[in-house]
């Protein structure tokens, strides 16, 4: 039962952005206010997961990664909020931001049922998948569709941080794997 739920949650998460890509082809591309909401939500979801992992993990490397996610994504969201304020844009909820929020909530709910090595593995695995998915969205949707030059520039500027986080998470993933945890 638990496995079915996890699988369903994972499936929902992984299909999220491909659904978005398909929807985008069929329907209109996201507007700038919608892109703003996607950026803010994507960061917030990872901040929430990071706070949980920083508090619950006993693995030094996982803890410091989790702290980093909280710090970095908070910084990115501050920049996003400053820009949104400057451009006088009100972030607009949309199917992508809603699915991100839902996927983030499901991840937290799942993590709360786990402990020790199982918790670390689930958190780090999800971080790898999450950063891959967000990078995919940045490249295929967010940067190409952003209309405002400053919003586009912010996305371009943010991208390398997601790349570095992904590499960091993959390194942790292989470290946890090699310990046989």
């Amino acid at each position: 039962m638990k496995h079915t739920l996890c699988a369903a949650a994972a499936l929902a998460f992984f299909s999220l952005l491909s659904i978005d890509a398909r929807a985008q082809q069929a329907a209109a591309a996201p507007t700038d206010p919608q892109i703003a909401a996607i950026v803010v939500t994507a960061n917030q979801v990872d901040i929430d997961a990071g706070k949980l992992a920083a508090a619950r993990s006993h693995n030094k490397d996982v803890k410091s990664f989790a702290h980093l996610m909280v710090t970095d994504h908070t910084s990115v969201n501050k920049s996003a909020a400053d820009l949104v304020h400057k451009l006088n844009v009100t972030p607009e909820d949309n199917p992508t931001s809603q699915s991100l929020k839902q996927g983030g909530g499901e991840n937290i709910a799942k993590l709360k049922t786990l402990k020790g090595a199982a918790f670390d593995k689930a958190y780090v695995d999800h971080e790898v998948a999450y950063h891959e998915a967000v990078l995919d969205a940045i490249d295929k949707t967010l940067i190409p569709d952003a209309q405002n030059a400053e919003l586009k520039a912010l996305l371009v500027k943010v991208r390398p941080a997601f790349v570095a986080h992904l590499e960091h998470a993959k390194h942790l993933q292989s470290e946890l794997g090699s310990k046989g945890e």
Partner: protein
């Protein structure tokens, strides 16, 4: 006593005179700027002379550090902030951002010969 006072004054005067003559020719420490942007140190390798100043400028949206374990450590450089370090001891220092282990770079400190052109 008065002759020693005279001697001291003369020495100070002579020293000042020599400094005034040589001052402009004594090499001034150079400044090297390392820009932190796009999760990278740029340039990835800097060669400085002992006594030179290296300035790291964080142009990213997230905080970084420039850390060579046991040698120098900027601690957190917040976005939009800088950190200055005067390199004293010659050597080849690999350094990294302790927050983001994918960010690595090198600082080479050569023995200063005092005859370089600044900048």
């Amino acid at each position: 006593m008065s002759s020693s006072a005279f001697g001291a004054r003369a020495a100070v005067f002579a020293a000042a005179f020599v400094c005034a003559l040589l001052g402009p020719q004594v090499a001034r420490a150079a400044k090297h700027v390392v820009t932190i942007e796009g999760m990278q140190f740029s340039p990835p390798s800097v060669t400085a002379e002992a006594g030179d100043e290296i300035v790291w400028v964080n142009k990213d949206l997230v905080a970084h550090t420039a850390t060579a374990a046991g040698r120098f450590d900027s601690r957190t450089i917040a976005p939009g902030h800088t950190w200055r370090y005067v390199a004293r001891v010659p050597g080849n220092y690999a350094y990294e951002c302790t927050l983001h282990p994918t960010m690595k770079a090198t600082l080479v400190v050569e023995k200063g010969n005092g005859r370089r052109n600044t900048k």
